[in-house]
């Protein structure tokens, strides 16, 4: 498996020098003042059944990577889907770059745990789909899709159909489809939840390299705490359903990161233990 090197933009000076570099240390994709997502007291009570979201207040700054973790079925995905404009909320205020959430924003992309590639389209045509929907011309979109496939190391598999790709390769094609439109706001729902442990680590590194290269903002859901720590600038812990924000943690581990390095970082171990005990309280 080819993984694009994350250290191509000359910013790897921080790595290995001071692993406890504070979050505010300047990096190219450091957060700016604006808010990409602003949720104030967001609640969701279905017309019958128990509440899903109690009161979520959460801001995601531009350029920030935020991970949401919490007990299974606590409403994490529901919150993400509300941000994506896929479902409505019943209380509070939710803004995406100042607008009400709506699906299919040209500046955003949404990715799922399952790769959801269309089985009748080849790898490249699956990547093109995102551009095709936006009306990008054929020659232009083929070039863009080829570039995106190359970035995930799958240039050679361009004409293969999903059935002829391994799970990890399918997930990389899906990642290429997510990045091909150059989104600046990415929402991911357990992006690697369906993968085996080794592939997941490789995918985390690939995602890191793609993300740290872009100026984008990432809001993602995971129930893998290690994954949250590897990828995010901030980890938000949701309570059990109906969800509230129960705690937030700044992940002050220097970038660019690599999965296996981060896992050996003493700060990682410290944060892992701290968040894990808080999570355990929510589970109890």
């Amino acid at each position: 498996m080819t993984v694009v090197s994350p250290s191509q933009h000359g910013l790897d000076t921080t790595r290995g020098v001071d692993n406890r570099a504070p979050h505010s240390q300047p990096t190219r994709r450091n957060a700016t003042a604006g808010l990409a997502v602003e949720a104030i007291d967001v609640g969701l009570s279905p017309s019958h059944g128990i509440d899903i979201l109690d009161s979520i207040s959460l801001s995601v700054r531009e350029g920030e990577f935020v991970a949401v973790i919490g007990p299974s079925g606590c409403g994490k995905t529901t919150f993400l889907n509300a941000v994506a404009g896929l479902i409505g909320i019943t209380r509070g205020s939710l803004r995406v770059r100042g607008d009400l959430p709506s699906p299919g924003r040209p500046d955003s992309a949404y990715a799922l745990a399952r790769d959801t590639l269309l089985p009748w389209r080849s790898a490249i045509r699956n990547v093109e789909l995102a551009l095709q929907i936006r009306g990008v011309k054929k020659t232009e979109r083929t070039a863009m899709a080829e570039e995106a496939l190359a970035r995930v190391g799958l240039a050679a598999a361009r004409d293969r159909h999903p059935a002829a790709l391994s799970q990890g390769m399918r997930q990389r094609v899906a990642l290429a489809r997510t990045f091909v439109t150059h989104p600046t706001l990415m929402m991911m729902d357990e992006p690697f939840g369906a993968l085996d442990a080794q592939t997941r680590v490789l995918m985390q590194d690939l995602l890191l390299s793609l993300l740290e290269d872009s100026a984008g903002t990432l809001l993602f859901i995971t129930h893998d705490l290690a994954e949250a720590l590897v990828l995010a600038d901030r980890v938000v812990l949701f309570s059990d359903r109906p969800a509230r924000v129960s705690a937030q943690y700044d992940i002050d581990i220097a970038r660019p990161r690599r999965s296996q390095d981060v896992r050996r970082d003493p700060r990682f171990v410290q944060l892992y233990d701290e968040i894990w005990s808080a999570l355990k309280n929510e589970l109890a």
Binding site: A84, P103, G104, Y110, L112, W120, A163, A164
Partner: protein, 272 residues
């Protein structure tokens, strides 16, 4: 009909061997049936008047190409089959596509369609003869009545196949209603639609022949009825074999045409 799947891989070492074995088994089955048949007549276990003979059937099969069976009757049967198939599947496709658009109407109509589809519609043949006379029109009507429901149900199933992930993808990509239809729904429905067409073709032949059986002057069904009444069993089997060969050939032709649309289905199977 599965031979094409192995045949496609001819040239690759292990598959050629597999195809060879499959053909070996297939021919052995045919040979065994022929041997039993021949044995039953040779040793007087059954009267050839009732079951014919392999040799006699083979002779009649060749001879029928110079008779009205192939020159006239076959043409009638084929025309009725294909006209009914074309009209029936087209109408079924349209009805199914319309019903797939409206969930309320679909939910109301679905049990009725299923009920209509499970009726033995060939029993309507005498009714169609009363309505349309002894000519080809009654047979075409019968074929349509059989094929329409098969195709309508397959179309509804194909176009409304629930795939929440795919639906979610379409929404998050911001696909319009039209884009959703052309990039997600229709390609996803192709295997189901092709299966409906293949099933419809086989049933078209069946209903055309049964229609001829019930009444008329031309067509393979009329000849079959005649040969059974006059105990010309060899000729009867010769017509049956001709019918089987043509049906298989046309079904294969249809599969070949549809293979492009559903190619990814085959590659799914390869992976397992």
């Amino acid at each position: 009909m599965s031979w094409r799947k192995t045949g496609r891989n001819a040239g690759h070492g292990p598959m050629t061997r597999e195809a060879f074995t499959i053909w070996g088994i297939r021919l052995s089955i045919v040979l065994a049936v022929l041997l039993i048949w021949q044995g039953l007549t040779t040793f007087n276990l059954m009267n050839p008047v009732f079951i014919g003979t392999p040799g006699g059937t083979f002779r009649e099969f060749i001879l029928q190409f110079n008779t009205r069976i192939v020159t006239t009757d076959l043409g009638y049967t084929l025309r009725e089959t294909l006209a009914g198939f074309a009209l029936g599947t087209l109408l079924g496709l349209l009805a199914g596509a319309l019903l797939a658009q409206n969930e309320m109407v679909r939910r109301a109509a679905s049990p009725l369609l299923t009920a209509a589809n499970s009726l033995p519609r060939v029993t309507l043949a005498p009714l169609f003869i009363i309505w349309f006379g002894l000519g080809s029109t009654a047979k075409i009507a019968l074929v349509i009545s059989v094929v329409f429901f098969i195709m309508a149900l397959n179309t509804i199933a194909g176009l409304t196949m629930p795939d929440p992930d795919r639906e979610l993808l379409a929404r998050t990509l911001g696909a319009s209603r039209r884009q959703r239809l052309f990039h997600f729904v229709i390609p996803g429905a192709m295997p189901t639609l092709m299966a409906g067409l293949e099933l419809s073709l086989v049933y078209s032949f069946l209903s055309a022949v049964v229609g001829e059986f019930v009444g008329g002057s031309y067509g393979l069904g009329v000849r079959l009825q005649e040969f059974a009444n006059t105990f010309e069993i060899d000729k009867f089997f010769a017509v049956i074999i001709l019918l089987a060969i043509i049906t298989t050939f046309m079904a294969e032709l249809l599969q070949l045409a549809g293979r492009r649309a559903t190619r990814w289905y085959g590659s799914d199977k390869l992976k397992q």
